[in-house]
Symmetry: C2
Subunit: 200 residues, 2 copies
């Protein structure tokens, strides 16, 4: 398998984390999204939405969208629970991540560490950070009652939420305000196969 | 089952569409999101993210996030395909809908039909509409080669994308620019159990 990815991307990191947990070897191809390398005609044939990550299977088929890739790779492993209620809860938290978490936590990080603040971004930053704090509060409250997001064990819901939460400080968030989140971050990072986000 | 919902919501409409396709009876509870009725302590116990739709099962458990609800309800029916590749493709399109489509098509619609344009929204509108047109172009290109999004049949990927696409005009989009999308909208709407978005 080949992973088409951008190293600082949390969405790509989700896939790298799971591939490592599964001891699944893969080839890595790096694209600089800031330089438009995912907007070339060649890349758009892999994913018409022009986004990393994209997983290329051995037969040449392409799968895009990080959470869909997590689903695909996790089938038949411990990271995807049995039973449609727990499965739906995994998808619930992955949807929460994509809609309420990522645009308000990952996007401020991308602006502050990569793009810088122009007038339009400056006008939106405080609003996004307020929504990001609300998302972290929802997570902290949930983790006050359980060690993992779903099914009392490490699933792809934890992977999806870990990716941008553990670097939220880079988006201007104070993780120490969310002690249950901090303990869960340590729990995820304690897996023997765990590795940092920017390590290829 | 009880569906906690807001009638103009496309996210709620996704669930109503599938429940009707499955001939599944349910009780309907309406909340006015503009008046803050999903921000009360009572509602936040159903969904701490404070969003509709929420499906309440007969045993009192709550499931939030429209695409997770679609997954839950579709298990064992024709609207969820067999095989992990097709299943991952359904999730790919549902993720595309949540991340690249809904914030750029549903949000302009909500602003123009409900909230009106203040300075901050006015500054963002053109950018969102450009991204929304890009999402419609990706869909149109995909539908040039196939009648349905995944597995040559009507699945929950079509439901997820139909909900806000068919009312995109209300967000300032010109659907006639996307002829394959228009034909697909007619295909979805031709199901005998199909009903309009604001019909309870």
């Amino acid at each position: 398998m080949i992973l088409h990815d951008y190293l600082p991307s949390g969405n790509g990191y989700k896939v790298r984390l799971l591939l490592d947990l599964l001891d699944q070897p893969y080839e890595y191809r790096h694209y600089d999204i800031v330089r438009g390398e995912t907007r070339t005609p060649e890349f758009l044939r892999k994913n018409p939405a022009g986004k990393v990550p994209v997983l290329e299977l051995d037969d040449g088929r392409f799968l895009s969208e990080s959470n869909a890739i997590l689903y695909y790779l996790a089938q038949g492993t411990d990271y995807w629970p049995e039973g449609r209620w727990d499965q739906a809860q995994v998808l619930r938290w992955m949807s929460f991540e994509q809609y309420s978490h990522e645009p308000n936590i990952a996007t401020p990080r991308f602006w502050l560490t990569h793009l810088g603040l122009n007038e339009e971004r400056k006008a939106q930053l405080a609003g996004k950070q307020a929504l990001g704090r609300a998302a972290l509060a929802v997570m902290d409250d949930h983790l006050a009652r359980q060690a993992w997001f779903v099914a009392d064990r490490y699933t792809i819901a934890d992977i999806a939420l870990y990716a941008y939460t553990h670097v939220a400080q880079e988006g201007g968030f104070t993780l120490a305000d969310y002690p249950n989140v901090c303990r869960w971050l340590e729990r995820v990072a304690s897996h023997p196969n765990h590795r940092p986000i920017t390590e290829e």
